[in-house]
Amino acid sequence: MKHLFILAGTDFKLIFRDPSLRAFLFFPIMLFAIIIWFVPSLIEKYEILEDYIPLFIMVGAVENTQMFSFISSMVLIDEKETQVAQMYGIVPLSRIQFLLFRLLIPYSFTVLLNVILLLTQPFVHISFIYILLISILTALIVPAYVLGINSIVKNRMEGMIYIKAFNMLVLVPFAAFFVPENFKHVFGFLPTHWILQSIELVSIESPQNGNLLLFLLIGFVFFAGVIYWLARSFFKKHFS
């Protein structure tokens, strides 16, 4: 537990002392302002947008994960590029502990952001248990993203390129809402598809609970598998 707080403290120092990372801490505030004030006023003006309410909620929830996906990715890339990462390979700290201590705070914080967002969004009422489940699932984007980026890139430059690509990748399953109903699950090969589908179900009037639980379950299993697989390749690379 001591290590968790020491590493979290270090990460916050690293973030606050780097202007390009610090700026990103304002990202959720912007996002909340858009979802809570700007979108409702937009819908008031253009009623046709009402049909798209589930999409606005999805964008909000997914984008909420992008702050820490970006920040934590950059912190770890920097650490790898400057070879400080090697130090974690030679101290009495297991790799699992390292990962847990590094990602638990960004993950938990992202869960919290989504709980707040889903509670305060003015469009639909969602029961708290679903808010919690969806937030816990959606925030898994953070570790998957951070491990994915860090398993691929070698330095900041490459990092910026892949981060742009990943930002789009998480949003690709939105296309499912613009293809005929029968084809929507072709996007199921991307784990974020199951997040979006779950959010759609809770943001329509009478959710079919059976499907919702199924989608959530697929999402959790899918993310667990992806994170496990990415963590292994991350472990092989990060410390050497």
Binding site: H3, T10, K13, T82, Q86, I90, V91, P92, F239, S240
Partner: protein, 283 residues
């Protein structure tokens, strides 16, 4: 302390062996050195020993236990001074050291100021590492490696990138660590460092060890057991060390004029290295 038998290693994606079957032992309490030119495989061996590289072949025992059987308590006992400075640039020297110290069960309260003082970094204690020079960062590497009082210390090129004064200071500290009973494994491409520090040195070239012995033995064995006397007149002559005091020719020679210098003909470690390996240490 360490026994290595037939150690082989190939980097993934490389088409030949980087280490071609090394055999060596490191005794408790000694300073053991790898001397060799850049690219010989010195760092690779150390990385295997501190478990940053896996996938080697051969047998490696540390403290009577196979290296791959050691768990994370191995890291309680070792200290690693990396070849290149690696610190969080946005953190101060103190923050960097405190962070990594926090992972150990410290045996005794360490005195951070004293550590910084020893390597002349006290003024920089609370400065961000990005404001440090390369030499300062290297000295920070050194004190980070020893701050938790490890028994077994790996130092990869501990004096490279340092000015002569600081290099001397680090060498002195390494000798003090040995006096405290620590076992130290250094790598270097500098014959001076090897000569001044090592109890035993292994010459390593192209992933192979060519010879292991004490620097003194090597210099004697490959040099001539003789003295060279040079007079102010420029005249000079060699005399065997054996029974030098009874060598009348020698005694006559040194009386014959004013002496400019007398030196023994033992080889420098550099010369021995070329003699044994056919390669130069480079710079």
């Amino acid at each position: 302390m360490i026994q290595v038998k037939d150690l082989k290693f190939q980097y993934p994606g490389s088409d030949s062996l980087t280490l071609k079957g090394l055999d060596f032992n490191i005794e408790q309490g000694e300073i053991f050195g790898f001397l060799g030119p850049s690219g010989a495989g010195k760092s690779t061996v150390q990385k295997i020993l501190y478990k940053i590289l896996s996938g080697y072949k051969g047998e490696v025992m540390v403290k009577n236990k196979a290296l791959n059987k050691w768990g994370k308590d191995y890291f309680e006992q070792i200290g690693v001074g990396f070849e290149l400075p690696n610190h969080y640039l946005k953190l101060t020297g103190k923050e960097n050291l405190d962070l990594f110290a926090s992972f150990y069960k410290l045996k005794s309260q360490r005195n951070l100021e004293q550590l910084f003082e020893q390597v002349d970094l006290l003024d920089a204690l609370n400065k961000p590492v990005e404001a440090y020079s390369k030499g300062m960062k290297m000295r920070l590497n050194f004190i980070r490696a020893i701050q938790h009082d490890p028994d077994l210390i790996y130092l990869d090129e501990p004096t490279s990138g340092l000015d002569p004064v600081n290099a001397q200071k680090i060498k002195q500290l390494i000798l003090e660590l040995k006096a405290k009973g620590k076992t130290i494994f250094i790598t270097t491409h500098s014959m001076h460092t090897a000569d001044e520090l090592c109890d035993r040195v292994a010459f390593i070239v192209d992933g192979e060890i060519r010879i292991i012995d004490s620097p003194q033995n090597l210099k004697t064995k490959y040099g001539k057991e003789a003295v060279n006397v040079k007079l102010k007149t420029g005249e000079n002559q060699e005399f065997p060390l054996k029974e030098l005091g009874c060598n009348t020719e020698f005694l006559q020679f040194i009386k014959q004029g004013e002496i400019n210098r007398i030196h023994t003909m033992e080889a420098t470690l550099d010369e021995v290295f070329i003699n044994v390996t056919g390669k130069s240490l480079g710079v």
